[in-house]
Symmetry: C2
Subunit: 293 residues, 2 copies
């Protein structure tokens, strides 16, 4: 009984910290940092790609850290530069920690047994750990449990890409879709791992580009915080996300990437100023919509 | 027409090289390199974990490189050590290239759009590229295509873990399982990308721990090379894999890990000698079964 309490408390701490960050910033906005060399501001010297990606990423992080509830790092954008790129992730995690900014490492990992434990270690046992990791549940819920000893997870349920229906919308013999079945697996994993407010350290990725389906998935996963990518450049709309946020406004993290990190500059302002302004605007819009300000 | 031919030829080169390696070694065996610090031979100094993992991995690779058809690197085992671990993957890929040994980077990646392209770059555009990458198709086949411009993929269809049935064996309204649907998606992706012998650069992961299901999946994916983990320590049996290998013996890659890389030493032999002996035994057994020797 005592052990159960301790486990529950340690686990609940992860969602508690995320929700505290939403309350502190008055928003449920997340900036997705997925830099592509060709799109960086002209002010950044691109001679050395890793140096350029590093300078840009640190600049974005500093510009948004006090404004939004969390940061999503797209691991692929750094991993493509090998060991040097992974080193940049370390720097970003350390800088985020100094701002007490929760970081979702968007690495979409998924493997069995000891390999899952290794991926958990890679995310949560580095010198400055990520708070959350995105994961793929195709291999079954047993493969998601190793992560939960050390951090939070967002399980891919319904992704924001155009072709996601090809597999995720297949219909099961009991009437559910494949996405629904994944959602039910996530809900079962989440239920015993809730904080005092009812939110779990098991979250789910549900794209903003399928609003009606997202709302139905919200209902299937009552204690699950939704990570909602696709706001802004991908076409997802903040107003459509209101039903996803729950009564207390903490039930969804709305993620915009390109519309913030590549925000156009005006009247000779610095690119970091444009990013900061775009982040403030996103925070205002999402916070007001969710009733957090 | 000319462009189509060129694309097909460049892509077919990947499966051609794998099949050439099977013919050169007379086997369809693969050694899975997934080192765990606690299990390394006592002869290896574990004071510095990354150094120990590096020394062990290079030793295994040298011991099996001329014996087996390919090597599978479990990315998680290296990634858990951050940038330094990723550097070890680079060294292993370079050493494998010097032996002309095809490498499957078992990283189980899966993401959308430009992120998929980044993961493809991380696997196939490094200084010594991997030949194949394991990927997760939950996000749909459009997310698998970016990899195919530069390398081969093995898509997770039916994994070898005990709990894989929870999701993968769910039944669709048309009678197929979720695994079957994934297999059909893989088969469709594979069909236009075949070499002269009929094998594609789109492969599939099908665990040896479910032999009857594996055989049925073989039939659903006629042009697809199967990557079959779970031989040896996980309980999969070489003889059960005969129906997976196809008429020419090239249709399956049988992967053993722990039973080879931690082979017990006898009469004071070096640990690398024990690994070499176990690899030869695996090559003999699989090669004879598949009719490749």
């Amino acid at each position: 009984m005592v052990m159960e309490m301790t486990e529950e408390m340690s686990v609940a701490g992860i969602s508690d910290r995320l929700i505290a960050a939403m309350d502190r910033t008055g928003c449920n906005a997340c900036v997705g940092l997925d830099p592509v060399l060709e799109k960086l501001p002209l002010a950044i010297d691109r001679t050395d790609p890793v140096h350029a990606i590093r300078e840009f990423s640190l600049g974005v992080l500093e510009s948004v850290a006090e404004t939004v509830a969390c940061l999503k790092l797209q691991s692929a954008c750094y991993e493509r530069y090998g060991a040097a790129g992974v080193g940049v992730i370390d720097e970003l995690l350390a800088l985020a920690a100094s701002h007490k900014l929760p970081v979702i490492l968007d690495a979409k990992r998924g493997d069995i047994g000891i390999s899952a434990a290794h991926y958990a270690a890679a995310a949560f046992e580095r010198s400055s750990p990520a708070s959350w990791l995105t994961v793929n549940g195709y291999l079954g819920s047993e493969t998601l449990e190793p992560y939960l000893e050390h951090g939070g997870i967002f399980v891919l349920v319904r992704t924001s890409n155009q072709g996601s229906a090809e597999f995720q919308s297949l219909r099961l013999d009991d009437g559910r879709t494949v996405s629904d079945a994944m959602a039910d697996m996530v809900a079962a994993l989440a239920a015993p791992r809730r904080n005092a407010a009812g939110w779990s350290d098991v979250g789910a990725v549900v794209g903003a580009t399928h609003p009606s389906e997202a709302e139905q998935l919200r209902n299937r996963m009552p204690s699950v915080v939704l990570l909602v990518p696709g706001i802004g450049a991908q076409g997802g709309c903040v107003a459509d996300c209101k039903p996803l946020c729950g009564a207390d406004g903490h039930g969804a993290i709305l993620t915009a990437s390109r519309s913030v990190i590549y925000a156009p500059t005006q009247h000779g302002e610095l690119w970091t100023e444009a990013v900061a302004t775009a982040a403030k605007s996103l925070a205002h819009e999402t916070g007001t919509m969710a009733g957090l300000r």
